[in-house]
Structures are given as structure tokens and as C-alpha cells.
């Protein structure tokens, strides 16, 4: 029964307006203890995490400038005028970052839901095919709701929005005073963020029928082209940028309806690119965020369509320089443009093509396709006549103009040494300049401080142009949810440790060392039979490098959620399926109740699911809330060095014994245990350092000896490969001789004896004394005393 007015016979004068109509409430699972948790509901869980993984703060600024009592100087952990201390202030800023990140996802989800309901109806079913029964693990887990149609997600968003506002309230001057409570709130925000992402991706998969487990989905998704070199500029090019797919989908629809698929290029940057290819695999993925400025400057786009998030704030100004009109489609990012949504499309096209306006707003996605396509087709011939790329002469003029003042280096977030590369180029050697291309994150800060007004980014791009034109790779289309059937197959090996880990490579591209890192991490772990899942910018960047035979990681590795797979999960919101996979391991493989049962499942994941997030180029506020959401669910994450600017890490201290106590749920016995995982959030300086760290963060107390031995093998091997020696703490993870890598058991036993004073029974190759806890294959680790099944007498 739909919403509406119900006239009840016999009650003539009463008209009943029916809002939510629940079908006969099928008790699909008993409700757990924490449906729709509020701020304090999971505080105990948070405090458990925060007690082991204590918040570490590295202020990015000593001051607070949030109210007119300020600026307050909080240096040396001083208090501000409102009484807040530096540590709490850092927690506050972390909560603020998570707020902005989470609202980006939740705002996007709500906006999308409005658009999808308008186009497809509230009743558009959530049906992900035969292999997926648990369609919305986070939704079930957190809210206790099992959504059947996209309209069911309204209630989920209501919950999220209410909670967000409650948390944001706490940012006000004179609220929270404890850094621990700020962190608990940030963790709550992170959880909401994960939920919002799930809503966003599920409704778009359901409505647009993006890949799921219907035919052609899952591991069978097609490959698409990735790279600046893939765009065929002999055709009119439409470039979509952002995160919200409906306008791009409308463009694809228009192209398909008018048979223009081969006449017009549809290409994208960032997550809209992912989602566009999920809908329309002819679309191309130009690049991730880090190349956005350069892609625009290269002038490849005949029209740029932006929606929301991770769009250059100066998009209109930039596009003007290459005579590219901009169509803004989302109320989050209006750029001061005029609203032409309901104007005659041809009039709008005319104004854009003639350059009368730099851009327009078209806020109804279903009106974007026509304008974008017509504009691109009409303007392309005009634009082809223009010179946009710098010529050699100009290039030489610029590099000679540089006087190595160093201003650009000081302005560059990565401290790139541009001046000396310019000097080399002036002598004819353009290689150093060209090499900067992949180190540069394309921010444009350098150019603004150059007293000689050298368009540095363009000069670098010019130097790298031959390379840029060949930047072509392939990525598997974002496949969305992991299948329940896949979980059934990998649940045991993951929990037992024989699949040594799930590596989730996610987030933005604020790298110090180029996109090569994304590739290297992916390849290193996939080659070792970890399951590697990627999303967002990382899923794009990883596609840009190739092995000696010219094959990218998506080509050399399969796309199943199984050992050795390299899986593009999708856009940033698709990250939720990584949480989903972890949750499903607990629910499908281990048959834990899911519904309203966050704490228990997070405890399960923390102790048993050897997953580790890698946000190597984490830049945005979303990355902050995403990582925090993973952390609350018990999944650790490694960030790159820029990640220290988030100000907070969650670091364990293996040297503090009391921090490492865990309960055996069978009888309540408490054990001291190995630091597994050692951190919830940690930054590494280099990818060489990160690789063994990631491997280390895959240890779990539940590992069987076989699993542990495999994990230890990779940890030790990666450490030796990239750091040149054994890790200093490998012995902490040894409980029994069979935990040791088979190939080196003898050697390592010797070391345990010599270096750590352990007692070894050399005859039986067994450890007699040394490990901090015994190995027991049926150990049932938990941090929650309430889960103890039977107290020991």
C-alpha cells in the first residue's frame, strides 16, 4: 500500500493520510542491542578502542580561531578562552573534519535519493541478483532496517541527519571538554559516514542497475580505459567531474538515445568517472583528482559538467582560459552561475557556445544531457581551431625566464624543486621537469608565487607531454558489493589467516611519490595472494602503471573477491562495500547476528578479519571520516605522510602490557596478547615503510598457526625486501613454532633462542617458553565481557 489518503468505509468523515506503511513486519532477524545508536550508545566500545589505540595529536596549528574570543594560543597544551585544551581542540578539529566528510556523503546520498525517487519511484527495488542476499550490511547492522526499495532508505537518512546534527552541535564553543569524548563522537561520525556511503551506492546501483550480481556484474565487469591519453579529442569531448552520477547518466542516456555513442566522447574525473563507467562502459576515466587541473588546462574538454565534491573551486576561471563552458548541476557547488534549469535548452546551448556566459546551472539532472551534448558538438569545431597547448618556443621562453628564486618550492606542498628542473630544461634537458609530472599533485600553488608569472604546471605538462599522451591504462569497472557467495568461500581463510589479508586501497591522491605507489602496493599484495580492493582515486591511479609486458594490475589479476584478486569496488561511496564484506564475514561465515548489533560485529572484525585500509594519498575531509568509520568497525588504516596533517592518529603501544588484554569468550579468561592489530591509524613516510606495516596490521588474534605463519612470512619478507632486515618485532607474533614461516622455521627458532632468550625444544622443534600467550586453535577472542558464554568457576 502506497502513501496516500485512505477513505475508510463507515468512517466517512475521516480521511486517513497514510505515511509509512510497513509490510507485515517479517522478523528477518531478532533486533540486536543497539539499533540506531545515539552519541552515547557505543561510547563504551569507543573507549575500549581509545584505551588501546590512544589518540595521538600533532597540531597543525597552535591556535584556535573558531570564535571571537580568539585567536587563542593553545601551544603547550594551554587552554583557550573557553577553557578548551590543545588536546581536546585537536579532537574537535578531527570531529569537524569528519563532520564535513560525513555530510559530503550524507548530503550526496539524500540529494541522489530525491533525484532517483523522482525518476524511478520510491518503490524501485533493491535487487542485487542471485549472489547477494544481504543487500545492505551497514544499514542492517546500524539501523536494524532491511531495505527493500530505495524509498526505504529515507528512514536511514533521517537517522543519519539527526545524528549528524547532534554531533555537529558538540563543536560549538563551550561544549565537549574531553578529547576522548571528541574522539568517540568522531568515531560515531565515521560510522554514520560509512552508512551514508552505503545508502548512496545502494540506491544508485538499484536505480541505474549498476553492476551487482546480475549477469555481467561482480568479477565479470568489463575493463574501461583510464588515462589522459585515452580521450579521443578528434570527437567532441564532454568531461564530467565530481561524485554524483545522475547528470552524467543523463548525458549517457542522451548519447544512447540519439545514437551518438561513437560521435561524442564522455570522459570523467574522480568518482563521477567511476560511476559513469558503471552505467556506460564506453565512458573513459581521464584521471583522478591529482590530474584534474592539468586535464582542464590541457583543454581536452569541450564542455565540463561538474556536480559535487573534489571539483576545483576555480573551475569556471580555469575553463574560461581554454574556452570550455561549464555546466554546474548541483546546489552544493553553484559557482555564482545563473540558474538556467528551465530555460529552453537550445537557448542555453547558444549562450554557452557563443561564450556569452562562462557557464550555467542546470539543477535538474534530466535536463543536463541535451544541453551538454549539443554544446559539446557545436563548440568542438570552434575550439579545435584554437591553440591551447604551449608550443616549444614558448616552453623555452618560460624555462629561461626562471631565475631559480625558489618561491615555487616553498609554496609547493611537496616541496618540489622546480627551479633546478627549469634550469636543466633551459640547457635542453627536459627530463627532470618531465619527472616532476608524476610527483606533482596539480595544485597550482607554485604558479601564484612565481614573480616571473611562469605557468609552471603547464610548463611541466609540456615537458611531460609525450608521456602524457601515452598515459593509457585499463581498469575494471567498479563492481559494487562483494557477493555473499564469495564471502562464503573466503570467510574461513580470512578468519583463519590463510588468506593473509584484505587490503583496501582507498582515498585521494595527495602523494609525495606519484601514482606509482598505488600500483606498487596493489601489485605487491595481490601477488602475495592478499585480496586487494580499490576505490576512488586510488582505483584510478593504480591503473596507470604497467609491468614489463605492458599489462596493468587489473589485467594481470582476476577480479574475484578472493586471494590474489584486484578489484575496483567503485567510487568513494562504494567503500561501504568493503565494510560490507567484513560485516558479511561475521554474519554469513560466522553467523553472528547482524541486526542492530554494531558493537559485537566490530569486535568480531577487530579480532578476526585481517583487513587493512590504505589511504595513501588521503587528502579530503571525506578521507578523514572514511578512515574513522573503518576504525570504529575494527579495521586499521595506514596513511601516507600528508595524513599526519589530519592531526590525529590512533596508535597502540606494544610496550604497555596493560593495553593488550583480551578475553576468551569461552570462559572469560583474560590473556595478554600480541599487538594485533598494532594500530588503528598510522602514517608511514615512504611506501617502502608502508608495505611491511600494512602486512603487519593484518595480524589478528584469531589467526590459526597456519594463517599466522603465512602472515608472518609476508611481513618478514616485505620488511627484508624494502627495509633490508628482519622486523624488530616479528617475535611478538609467535605463539608456537608452527606460527613461523615454514621455510625459515629453523633459523627463526634459533633467533628466538639467541636473541630473545626463548626456550626451544630442538628435538621436536617446539617452543617451550617465550611467547606471551599460548596458541589455542579454538581461542574465541573478544573485548566485550558481555559475550563471555560461561564464566570460569
Amino acid at each position: 500500500m502506497a502513501k496516500g489518503i485512505l477513505d475508510v468505509a463507515g468512517l466517512e468523515n475521516v480521511r486517513i493520510f497514510i505515511g509509512e506503511v510497513a509490510e507485515e513486519e517479517e522478523e528477518w532477524e531478532p533486533m540486536g542491542p543497539h539499533p540506531k545508536p545515539g552519541i552515547t550508545t557505543l561510547r563504551n566500545w569507543d573507549f575500549k578502542l581509545l584505551q588501546r589505540y590512544k589518540p595521538f595529536y600533532a597540531p597543525f596549528c597552535d591556535m584556535c580561531c573558531l570564535c571571537t574570543y580568539g585567536k587563542c594560543d593553545l601551544s603547550g597544551n594551554k587552554k583557550g578562552a573557553c577553557g578548551i585544551r590543545m588536546d581536546a581542540q585537536q579532537g574537535r578539529i578531527v570531529l569537524l573534519a569528519c563532520l564535513i566528510g560525513c555530510t559530503a556523503h550524507a548530503g550526496h546520498a539524500r540529494h541522489l535519493l530525491h533525484d532517483l525517487i523522482r525518476k524511478f519511484g520510491r518503490d524501485a527495488p533493491i535487487d542485487f541478483g542471485p549472489e547477494i542476499a544481504v543487500e545492505a550490511p551497514l544499514t542492517r547492522l546500524i539501523t536494524g532496517i532491511r531495505p527493500k526499495t530505495i524509498g526505504d532508505m529515507e528512514e536511514v537518512l533521517d537517522y543519519i541527519e539527526e545524528q549528524i546534527v547532534q554531533l555537529s552541535d558538540a563543536l560549538h564553543t563551550g561544549q565537549e571538554g574531553s578529547f576522548l569524548d571528541f574522539e568517540s563522537k568522531a568515531l560515531h561520525m565515521g560510522m554514520l559516514d560509512s552508512l551514508a556511503k552505503e545508502v548512496a551506492d545502494i540506491i544508485q546501483i538499484a536505480a541505474y542497475k549498476l553492476p551487482s550480481s546480475h549477469p555481467g556484474g561482480g568479477p565479470d565487469v568489463p575493463l574501461v580505459e583510464v588515462g589522459l591519453g585515452t580521450v579521443d579529442t578528434s570527437k567532441p569531448v564532454i568531461l564530467v567531474i565530481g561524485h554524483n552520477v545522475p547528470p552524467a547518466a543523463d548525458i549517457a542516456d542522451y548519447l544512447m538515445e540519439h545514437g551518438l555513442e561513437d560521435a561524442v566522447e564522455l570522459a570523467g574525473i574522480c568518482c563521477t568517472a567511476h560511476d559513469t563507467t558503471r552505467y556506460y562502459p564506453k565512458a573513459k576515466i581521464v584521471c583522478a583528482l591529482g590530474r584534474q587541473l592539468r586535464a582542464i588546462r590541457l583543454g581536452i574538454a569541450d564542455v565540463i559538467v561538474v556536480d559535487e565534491q573534489c571539483i576545483r573551486a576555480d573551475i569556471v576561471e580555469l575553463a574560461q582560459k581554454t574556452f570550455t563552458p561549464v555546466i554546474a548541476t548541483n546546489d552544493k557547488a553553484l559557482h555564482g552561475l545563473e540558474d538556467r534549469t528551465y530555460d529552453e535548452p537550445d537557448k542555453v546551448v547558444k549562450d554557452l557556445v557563443e561564450g556569452k556566459v562562462p557557464g550555467v546551472l542546470i539543477l535538474d539532472p534530466e535536463r543536463v544531457g541535451e544541453v551538454a551534448v549539443k554544446t559539446a558538438m557545436q563548440i568542438a569545431p570552434k575550439r579545435r581551431a584554437m591553440k591551447i597547448i604551449m608550443d616549444d618556443e614558448e616552453f623555452q621562453r618560460w624555462v629561461r625566464l626562471c631565475y631559480q628564486c625558489g618561491n615555487c618550492t616553498l609554496a609547493c606542498p611537496n616541496g618540489l624543486r622546480i627551479g633546478s628542473a627549469m634550469a636543466k630544461a633551459a640547457t635542453g634537458d627536459t627530463k627532470p621537469l618531465a619527472e616532476l609530472f608524476d610527483l606533482c599533485v596539480g595544485c597550482g600553488r607554485c604558479e601564484q608565487v612565481c614573480k616571473r608569472h611562469i605557468p609552471i604546471v603547464d610548463v611541466i605538462t609540456k615537458a611531460a607531454y609525450p608521456y602524457v599522451r601515452q598515459e593509457r591504462g585499463k581498469a575494471r569497472v567498479g563492481r559494487g558489493p562483494v557477493w555473499d557467495t564469495e564471502i562464503r568461500d573466503v570467510g574461513a581463510p580470512i578468519v583463519l589467516g590463510t588468506i593473509p589479508g584484505v587490503i583496501a586501497i582507498i582515498g585521494c591522491g595527495n602523494y609525495p611519490n606519484g601514482t606509482r605507489d598505488a600500483y606498487l602496493i596493489t601489485k605487491e599484495f595481490a601477488d602475495r595472494n592478499y585480496i586487494v580492493v580499490l576505490t576512488g582515486c586510488m582505483a584510478i591511479d593504480a591503473a596507470l602503471w604497467k609491468d614489463e609486458e605492458g599489462r596493468g594490475v587489473y589485467e594481470t589479476h582476476h577480479g574475484r573477491f578472493d586471494a590474489g584478486g584486484v578489484i575496483n569496488i567503485g567510487s568513494c561511496v562504494s567503500n561501504a562495500h568493503i565494510h560490507g564484506a567484513c560485516i558479511k564475514i561475521a554474519s554469513i561465515y560466522a553467523r553472528r547476528n547482524l541486526r542492530g548489533n554494531y558493537e559485537e560485529i566490530a569486535d568480531y572484525i577487530l579480532n578476526r578479519v585481517g583487513a587493512c585500509g590504505v589511504a595513501w594519498g588521503a587528502m579530503s575531509q571525506k578521507a578523514a571520516s572514511i578512515a574513522t568509520g573503518f576504525n570504529r568497525l575494527g579495521v586499521p588504516a595506514v596513511v601516507g605522510p600528508h595524513g599526519t596533517k589530519y592531526r590525529r592518529a590512533y596508535l597502540g603501544r606494544p610496550d604497555i602490557e596493560d593495553d593488550w588484554k583480551i578475553i576468551d569468550a569461552r570462559d572469560g579468561t583474560e590473556y595478554r596478547f600480541e599487538p594485533a592489530p598494532q594500530h588503528l591509524l598510522v602514517a608511514c613516510e615512504t611506501v617502502e615503510e608502508a608495505l611491511p606495516m600494512i602486512a603487519k596490521l593484518c595480524f589478528r588474534p584469531s589467526d590459526t598457526d597456519r594463517g599466522r605463519s603465512i602472515k608472518l612470512t609476508h611481513y618478514i619478507d616485505l620488511h627484508e625486501k624494502y627495509l633490508g632486515c628482519l622486523p624488530p618485532d616479528w617475535h611478538l607474533f609467535v605463539r608456537t613454532a608452527t606460527d613461523l614461516p615454514i621455510a625459515r622455521r629453523e633459523e627463526l627458532l634459533k633467533r628466538l633462542e639467541d636473541e630473545h632468550g626463548w626456550k626451544i625444544d630442538w628435538e621436536r622443534k617446539r617452543i617451550l617458553e617465550g611467547p606471551m600467550r599460548p596458541y589455542d586453535p579454538s581461542f574465541d577472542p573478544t573485548n566485550l565481557p558481555r559475550l563471555i558464554r560461561k564464566k570460569k568457576e
Binding site: A58, F60, D62, S75, G419, S420, R653
Partner: protein, 179 residues
């Protein structure tokens, strides 16, 4: 005297009175330290010279925390005596705890020397030390080729072409450490 931070907008606030110091002045702080610690990062692998500087400091009895993947260099040089592998985040986290037992069990440190660490990672860790390692006071100095407002003392920024000048400074620094 202060100076422009190497990352121009790295202006942490009023207390960031990082000063540009001479190698001699820095060496004297290290010489009189109760328990100094040298913290090296991946950038020392740029050039053998830097690795040798670190080893020389280590030879003076100052323990070395090898962060990033810098340990690789020490292993290659065959110098690992008082070199401890640790992640920089982990190390800084320990440093802020006055109860920490230290890398060798001898307790925490009063002077830490940052060397060869990626600028912005170092800067953040120096900020943690400056803001939270106040009771007892820990002094962090940087001997990198960058000005670090978050360090108590550091060198000025060196351009690539002034690498030799920087090397001279490092030499002077090492020479002047007496322990």
C-alpha cells in the same frame, strides 16, 4: 632569528619560535643533553654522505631511531649497533610519554635530533613534541636542509645548488658534538 618555513604556509602560531641556529649552537645543545636521540628518516638515503653523518653521530654514542625505510642504509653500511627501527609516528607517540622506557630501556630523551625526514611529516611530529612534551621539557632540533618553525632550532632552507654549504654545516655540527 626566525626564517620562512620551507612550506611557506607552515605557520603554526606564536609559540613556534623556531630559530635558525648555527651548527655549533646545535651541537652544544646536543653535547650537554642528558639523553639525546638522533631520529633519521628516508631522506638520508639520498646520498651516502648523509648516512655517514648519521653513523658518525651514532658512533659518538647517540642512539639512532631509524624511521621510514632509512634502516636500509644502515644495514647496507653494516652499521646497526645502536640503530633502532621504528615508525616515526610510533616513536613520537612514545616520546610524548614521560614514562616511556626508551629504545634501549634507559628512559625517554631530552633532546631529539631530526635528520632526513620528509618535511611535512617531520613538521607535524615536531609540533606534537613542542605542544605536548613540556613536562619535562623535550627539545627537538632539526638538522635538515629546511627551516622548521616547529623545531626549537633548525637550519635555514637550502636550495639544491647550496647542497655543499649544507654539507659543510652538517660536518661542523658533527665535529662539535662532544660526548
Amino acid at each position: 632569528m626566525a626564517c620562512e618555513p620551507f612550506d611557506i604556509a607552515n605557520v603554526p602560531g606564536p609559540a613556534a619560535l623556531g630559530v635558525v641556529a648555527t651548527p655549533e649552537a646545535m651541537a652544544s645543545v646536543v653535547s650537554s643533553a642528558r639523553r639525546p636521540l638522533l631520529v633519521v628518516g628516508s631522506e638520508i638515503l639520498r646520498d651516502d654522505f648523509y648516512l655517514d653523518v648519521a653513523i658518525e653521530i651514532g658512533r659518538k654514542g647517540i642512539p639512532i631511531a631509524a624511521t621510514g625505510h632509512s634502516i636500509k642504509g644502515f644495514v647496507q653500511k653494516g652499521y646497526t649497533d645502536n640503530v633502532h627501527i621504528i615508525n616515526l609516528h610510533e616513536l613520537t607517540n612514545c616520546l610524548r610519554d614521560p614514562e616511556w622506557r626508551g629504545l634501549d630501556g634507559g628512559g625517554s630523551y631530552d633532546v631529539v635530533i631530526f635528520f632526513g625526514i620528509l618535511y611535512y611529516y617531520a613538521s607535524q611530529m615536531l609540533s606534537c613534541i613542542r605542544n605536548f612534551c613540556v613536562r619535562p621539557l623535550m627539545r627537538a632540533i632539526s638538522i635538515d636542509r629546511y627551516f622548521h618553525p616547529n623545531a626549537a632550532m633548525s637550519f635555514p632552507n637550502f636550495r639544491p645548488k647550496d647542497e655543499d654549504k649544507y654539507k659543510e654545516m652538517l660536518k661542523k655540527f658533527v665535529e662539535n658534538i662532544r660526548r
